[in-house]
């Protein structure tokens, strides 16, 4: 196996697999809460209960799974990338790569960007599934909706493009988060204090970029 494919694989584990836990927790609860709150807002007996499932499904796929997941990941992955690269910069590890004649940005940054663009869509699919499932558990456990109604709601009036849209968003967000954080980390100068500042800047900047891109993509594609 080539050096670079191994690097990308390592980063996939670091960035993707290590985020599965936090993404699962967040998305399950968000689905559950969406279900309960939608039911709370639907007081009219004229509206069929299946609507709850429709709302959970659509808000999950269109917005909650891709955007909330990526905001969470901008915290976890963004600080991890910026902190890691920043530390390598101030301890001269990046300089060491450069004097060996190794292109440090393609050695360090490219695998992170690629790994993010590979794993983020997978995490978003997982998040979508768990969020809808979280809604199911909360809805049936609290006797808000019967399993049959929930399932039939999920299946009614489904637009496959929303899945495509969610995946497009996840790839764009992955690119934004990984490049912004890498930039902040790679160009750290100073000491440990600056590494902390670079991490913070990476998280806030990529968070804002994700939300701005979210708005733009919604305008462009929907």
């Amino acid at each position: 196996m080539g050096v670079y494919s191994k690097l990308v694989l390592d980063e996939c584990i670091q960035i993707g697999i290590n985020s599965v836990f936090i993404v699962s927790i967040v998305s399950t609860f968000i689905g559950a809460v969406t279900c309960v709150q939608t039911a709370y807002n639907l007081v009219s007996p004229l509206v069929p209960l299946t609507i709850i499932a429709v709302i959970v499904r659509d808000s999950t796929i269109l917005e909650l799974a891709p955007t909330i997941t990526c905001v969470v990941l901008s915290g976890k992955v963004g600080s991890n990338i910026a902190g890691g690269l920043g530390t390598m910069r101030i301890t001269e590890q990046i300089d060491a790569l450069e004097v060996m004649g190794i292109n440090s940005s393609s050695y360090l940054v490219l695998p992170k960007v690629l790994a993010s663009m590979i794993t983020f869509p997978m995490l978003v699919i997982l998040a979508g599934f768990l969020s809808i499932y979280g809604g199911y558990i909360a809805g049936t456990a609290a006797d808000i909706i019967t399993p049959e109604d929930y399932i039939s709601g999920l299946r009614s009036d489904f637009k496959p493009f929303s899945i495509t849209f969610a995946l497009i968003k996840s790839v764009v967000f992955a690119f934004l988060i990984s490049t912004i954080s890498s930039f902040k980390g790679y160009y750290t100068a100073g000491g440990a204090l600056e590494v902390g500042q670079a991490s913070t800047a990476a998280v806030t900047n990529s968070c804002i970029a994700v939300l701005a891109a979210d708005f733009l993509l919604a305008q462009l594609l929907l």
Binding site: E92, Q93, D95, E98, M100
Partner: protein
Amino acid sequence: MIEIKNIQKTFGERTILSGISGKFLPGDTSLIIGGSGTGKSVLLKCMIGLIKPEEGQVLYDGRDFLTGDEDTQKAIRREMGVLFQGGALFDSKTVLENVRFPLDMLTNMPTSEKMERAQFCLQRVGLENAADRMPSEISGGMKKRVGIARAIVMNPKYLFCDEPNSGLDPLTSIKIDELIREITDEFKITTVVITHDMNSMMEIGEKIMFLYQGKKMWEGTSSTITQSNVAELNEFIYANKLLRDTKA
């Protein structure tokens, strides 16, 4: 041979290096000495291309390093080994992986040969037992020694060491000095060592360059260093009481 000509470097308003020239010959261990903050590390970084000086030239056997084309630069980089002041070990890799890293990235050697070479270099710095530890689990002096092993693993033509023996006990320090001199003689390496250490100055300083506030104040050998009449240099070397007494 490495030749530097009129190196000039400023950071903002502050002039760090002003007009430094010199020659470093193959088979010689050349020392750069001087007080803390005088610009020794900056000079070294200019020589290895990590900092771009405003003015000046760095020639590796006649090849211009700073303005040369990319292939020339790459070729020169493959021929140099650098020990950074803090070791600069990759902290996600074990000691052995660190030493093997240049071989992995830059050569097509079979794995068994790489292992052998890496282990041989670790042995030379006396760390064959620490091969599987992480950099965070070894001491500062050990990091330096791993850094040296990594710097020599590719059989460099040019070797740069930024304070190879600061933070080492006297015995290990002497061993490192001997190692540097041995490999320099053996493979006719052009070696440039930055040091504060009077012992190494006397032991391995075949050629010594003294920097003071970014200027080259004196140049000579270890046998003539005690007879100079440069006030700043005398102050620097006779800071050590033992030496001051011997002079008096």
